[in-house]
Amino acid sequence: MRIAVLLKSVPDLIEDIPIDEESGEILYDEMSYIPSEWDDQALEEALLIKEESGAEVTAITVDTGESDTMLFTALAKGADHGVKLVGDFDPSLPNRQRAHIFSQYLGPQSFDLVLSGVQAIDDIDGQIPGLVAGILGWPHASVVTEVRAHDNRVIFRQEYAGGLVAEIKVSTPAVIGVQAARKPPRYASIAKVRQIAKSSQLEEVEMSIQEVPSLEILRFYKPIASGHAEMIDGDVDEAVDRIIEILQEHNLMRG
């Protein structure tokens, strides 16, 4: 079984998001990036399938600037190939275009299963797996928690409201958006990542941008706080007095 895992890097929220206040645009060049945590889950699930029933795992990303370490880390964890789809792309690349770039590459390849994270923090639309499946005309499911592969059948789970779980079967090829892997993503030791970076080659494939219907972001801005919580200072007695006062103000005291 050949599995493709679609990866993406997202802004690292350890740093403040830099916004140009006049234009309301995000300053993408000033941010640092980390692998999207849901894509990490998808990669882990692919590696678990590989260990369980044998598979060849290819990690693929659209290169928007910081791809190499992410792909080398995927190789260090156990992926067999790393593919970088290169072109004139930056981190603001809309998902619809991103999906076309992935599909353009995936189409002629003979992958049986495509896994990707269910969504990413910088788009929240969760459309990559669905769009890729639509463009390729393959079956698709998303918000999936457990994927197992048997011959040419893939069985996975979805969780519904009311504590109901569905076990679903799909024939390959298929595209699945992974919510969570069965185990937490594994750690790749730095020594291994460094050794892989020295000894392995990433495959680079030149891709072009396709015009797609698009949305226009008017501005990014930080929400304005309408009120603040009151922090109650002082020793126990003072704090208790203040709490009683607040409860009385709101008519929440009895007797």
Binding site: R186, Y187, S189, I190, A191, R194
Partner: protein
């Protein structure tokens, strides 16, 4: 396999000499050599872990191992369990050692846990068997240059609160005498930052021509190396050496004994060879230039950091500074100097608190704080950045809040010289 059988003879003849009595069994195969030692062989085959096989079970290490006082653990026990077939790679024992070096100090066979632990841990990390919380610290360090997971762009933020100039080398653009390697906890931890501010003021008061790397500095990485991530250590060391090599300075002064250890023994192997001093050594040489204006009429005891004392032999510099403080009565705890206890933070212990809790009756820091209180100390003086947070937490968790203050030596000095207004946080 053949089972052990009674091998004691009433009389044995060895090389023509007649030996009677029970001790003649020493000349016969002993029960402990009749185990299947495949697992032991597997462990001692790991480069660096060879000396585990030298153990002859005398138990001297057990008597001095700090972890054994709060749990069922010591190097002797590790050897015995490995001999019995419990793989160290899979055992929780592997993560309990704080690499305090007290066992190596007394071991007649030089079973070297300082080499065994990082070697076997490296194997466990590669096999995906390291505790999650440790891996989080590794990932943070790889990504942000500090184990705490703070923004690398804010590494020099503390300097803005120093109230004195703390030149950053990239902006200073001229040579300095002293390159101060600040390290992570002194740069990010709230209490660590207070000690950094104190040290910055002391350096200014001494008119020291110094600079820091600021955001170009990353964790020195020594504890990550001891915790089994040698690759991460090398990546950090290469980065720091590259940054340091951009600038001209005469010597390095470090806040952190773990960084001191790295700069003294490990960085030179990777091409980073500079004279280095711990800040207590640097200040002790300049004591006469400090004028003390405030008395600290308190009983102070000092906790020797493992990586300044046992690892690198410096016991006197911190004591010279403490005894110079007017008003101070310095009392030594039973565990001091070479026999000092351990705060529990070394060798990755700093990032294994939850893991360790399942295998120990209390934290090493809690035991140490109880000892300081037994000796009637008002202040526990420390000089390793791991220790202020560890001991302050321990003071609270042992129900001793308000009875013992934990202070970095730099904080005590800065107060006494009149550079800061407070010397006791609580």
């Amino acid at each position: 396999m053949q089972k052990a059988k009674a091998i004691e003879l009433d009389v044995a003849v060895v090389d023509g000499v007649e030996l009677s009595g029970s001790w003649n069994r020493m000349f016969e195969p002993r029960a402990i050599s009749e185990y299947d030692i495949a697992v032991l062989d597997e462990t001692t085959a790991i480069p660096g872990a060879e000396s585990l096989g030298y153990c002859y079970q005398c138990g001297k290490c057990t008597a001095v191992c700090p972890v054994d006082t709060v749990g069922d653990y010591s190097p002797r026990k590790i050897f015995r369990r490995t001999q019995l077939g419990v793989s160290l790679v899979d055992s929780p024992d592997l993560w309990l050692c704080t690499t305090c070096r007290n066992c190596l100090r007394v071991c007649p066979k030089e079973v070297n846990m300082i080499q065994i632990m990082p070697a076997v841990r490296e194997r466990a990390v590669l096999d995906g068997k390291a505790p999650d919380e440790l891996l989080t610290a590794f990932e943070n360090t790889a990504r942000y240059g500090n184990p705490i997971g703070e923004s690398p762009r804010k590494r020099a933020e503390w300097a803005k609160t120093a109230g004195v100039m703390v030149p950053v080398m990239a902006q200073k653009k001229s040579p300095v005498d002293v390159l101060w390697f600040v390290e992570c906890y002194p740069a990010y931890h709230p209490r660590g930052k207070q000690a950094s501010v104190a040290l910055a003021r002391l350096l200014n008061a001494l008119n020291v021509d110094f600079g820091i790397l600021g955001n170009e500095e990353k964790c020195a990485g020594d504890s990550q190396r001891m915790a089994g991530e040698r690759g991460l250590f090398e990546m950090l060391a290469e980065h720091n050496i590259k940054m340091l090599s951009k600038y001209t300075f005469n010597h390095i002064v470090v806040t952190d004994p773990h960084a001191y250890n790295a700069f003294l023994h490990e960085y030179p192997k990777l091409g980073g060879d500079w004279p280095v001093q711990h800040y207590t050594q640097y200040l002790a040489e300049r004591l006469s230039a400090l004028s003390f204006v405030r008395s600290i009429p308190r009983r102070i005891t000092f906790h020797d950091p493992c990586y300044l004392g046992r690892h690198n032999g410096e016991y006197d510099a911190p004591r010279r500074l403490l005894t110079a403080l007017p008003g101070v009565e310095l009392v030594e705890m039973g565990h001091c100097r070479e026999t000092s206890y351990c705060c529990g933070g070394g060798g990755g212990g700093m990032w294994l608190d939850s893991f360790t809790r399942d295998y120990t009756s209390e934290r090493l820091s809690e035991k140490r704080v109880r000892e300081a209180i037994e000796y009637g100390a008002d202040i526990l003086a420390v000089t390793c950045p791991y220790e202020v947070p560890r001991f302050e937490d321990a003071v609270k968790s042992t129900g001793n809040a308000g009875k013992l203050a934990v202070m970095d030596i730099a904080e005590l000095l800065a107060y006494s010289v009149g550079l800061t207004d407070e010397y006791a946080a609580n």
